[in-house]
């Protein structure tokens, strides 16, 4: 429906843009505006007080004290007229006022006689709507009263400004958080192998599940080829955030380099330990790192394993035949003791046997009765048929971590290799 052109302000398109900017139309009732209309009705002793917003073809009431109507057409024209000026627009007696005589609110059932509306004017001069008073009796309205109504309208405007400022802050924080998450993801991805390499005789799959998308965790895994071996690494740097990420990057890359020139995984860990201690003084590193490194090399019908450990939870070997065993080399976490010695364990995987390396985010997950634990991990995989591939185990771990009765509180990483 077209609106009478005399009711359209000159700045209408900019004004409507301002109405949109304040994002107030069709929002639920709000205590601040309810209080202002109640206060205005009481102060001026009128039955009805309204905060109205003039939309393109309707007048929407943000608050309507004493009137059971949420919006009206723009056409009757009282609030629409009130926004045309920059001062309160007053009709003291509609029956004798030519500007209001024909208005349906005056002529009709409503029987409006008095109207006073102060425009809600933005800092850049657009009128969004009014704070208006309505009575069924004619009234006199003094210049002082008009000034008070204008002050109350300014309070409504302050409230609208507060809302827009608060929303901007929230939007800004959301943007910042999204940026932080993107950076964390990019950083995290640089700490993990882009794709798992393929090795003859070994089926490899990995699980990586950060506890918080916005924070770079200290858990990592790596898989690469060194000489005749497939090197599998799972580690956990204490702490979180950018500093821990820097230590994680150092650990991962130093271990890659060391593995190429070391005779054994324990040797590689000793080199990594030295690398982490270079330039460190007392007190010790803010961050240390637990690692489990396994060299897997192809032998007839399986994989020969040599594992070296630096304080990391033991690997779980699920034998195709049905038993569970632990691959548990001992040694202190790297980055702590200059004289650290790292222990090794040898083992082998026959066809269908799987080795599961993991971080304590999985075993320290809370269950109804305490922590999942290493044994809980083994029993939690009980339903997975043995010898059905590394991915089946990763899928089961993912399901275990998502279980309603298991609460994973930290990063969870697992690396699985099954002998083909």
């Amino acid at each position: 429906m077209a609106v009478d052109e005399s009711l359209i302000p000159e700045d209408e398109s900019a004004r409507l843009a301002a109405v949109r900017r304040y994002d107030i139309l069709d929002t639920p009732p709000d205590g601040a505006f309810e209080r202002i209309t109640a206060l205005a009705a009481k102060h001026f002793d009128v039955p009805v007080a309204i905060v109205s917003i003039v939309d393109a073809d309707r007048i929407w009431f943000k608050s309507h004290h004493g009137l059971d109507v949420g919006e009206t057409a723009r056409e009757p024209g009282l609030c629409a007229s009130a926004i045309l000026g920059d001062r309160p627009w007053v009709v003291e007696n509609a029956e004798t006022d030519p500007r209001a005589l024909a208005n349906p609110l005056v002529a009709g059932e409503m029987g409006l006689r008095f109207y006073a509306g102060a425009p809600l004017t933005t800092a850049d001069g657009h009128s969004l709507g009014t704070l208006c008073l309505i009575d069924r009796e004619p009234r006199e309205f003094s210049g002082d009263q008009a000034a008070t109504l204008a002050d109350m309208a300014a309070i409504v405007m302050d409230e609208l400004e507060l809302r827009i400022a608060a929303r901007r802050t929230v939007d800004h924080e959301l943007t910042l958080r999204e940026q932080a998450e993107q950076m964390a993801r990019a950083l995290q991805e640089s700490l993990l192998p882009p794709a798992l390499p393929r090795f003859a005789g070994a089926d490899v799959a990995a699980l990586y599940q950060p506890a918080d998308a916005g924070v770079v965790g200290g858990d990592f895994y790596d898989v690469f080829e060194a000489g005749e071996s497939c090197v599998l690494v799972v580690g956990d740097v204490s702490g979180k955030g950018p500093k821990a990420a820097a230590v994680t990057a150092l650990a991962r890359h130093a271990l890659r380099t060391a593995s190429l020139s070391s005779r054994s995984p324990a040797d590689a860990l000793a080199t990594l330990n030295q690398a982490m201690l270079i330039g460190r003084h007392e007190p010790r590193l803010e961050h240390f790192c637990t690692v489990l490194v396994v060299w897997a090399s192809r032998v007839a019908d399986g994989l020969a394993l040599t594992a070296a450990g630096a304080g990391h939870p033991p690997g779980l070997i699920r034998r195709a035949g049905g038993s569970d065993e632990w691959l548990e080399p001992a040694g202190p976490p790297v980055g702590w003791y200059p004289d650290a010695v790292f222990g090794e364990r040898m083992d082998r995987l026959d066809k269908g046997d799987a080795l599961i390396l993991y971080t304590d985010g999985i075993t320290e997950a809370r269950t109804g009765t305490g922590m999942l634990g290493a044994d809980g991990l083994a029993s939690g995989l009980g339903g997975v048929e043995r010898g059905t591939g590394a991915e089946a185990i990763v899928t089961a771990l993912r399901r275990l971590a998502a279980d309603d009765g298991v609460e994973v509180r930290d990063d969870a990483v697992a690396l699985v290799v099954e002998a083909l």
Binding site: F288, T290, G311, A330, P332, F342, T367, G368, T369, E407
Partner: protein, 109 residues
């Protein structure tokens, strides 16, 4: 999700014998317990024998391990001795895993 089980709590007790200090850890040792263990082991004179009684320790996380590793370093740097006593199997397994058996003697309780 069922209500997660709260850690059982953690407490530290300290007793002095001639020439020795026994600090006992009870419950679950995680990041919340570090300060109490550090306070109980602060300023030990050279020559002191510190026995960390782990008989009642149910669980230790990486923060707790780090505190134990720090005690190990401090004992060497400050000239006192450190021993662990009677850890339960799960804690003992973890201590062994972290290479403590080559660094810190285990004593009977």
């Amino acid at each position: 999700m069922p209500e997660p089980v709260r850690p059982e709590g953690f407490s530290v007790t300290r007793a002095t014998h001639d020439g020795g200090v026994v600090v006992s850890l009870h419950g679950e040792f995680d990041i919340a317990g570090i300060e109490r263990v550090e306070a109980a082991t602060a300023e030990l004179p050279p020559g002191t024998q510190l026995v960390l009684d782990l008989g009642d320790l149910q669980f230790i996380d990486s923060s707790g391990l780090r505190t134990l590793m720090n005690l190990d370093l401090r004992s060497r740097g400050e000239g006192w001795s450190l021993a662990f006593s009677e850890p339960q199997p799960a804690v003992r397994r973890l201590l062994r895993l972290c290479g403590f058996e080559h660094r810190v003697p285990l004593t009977p309780g």
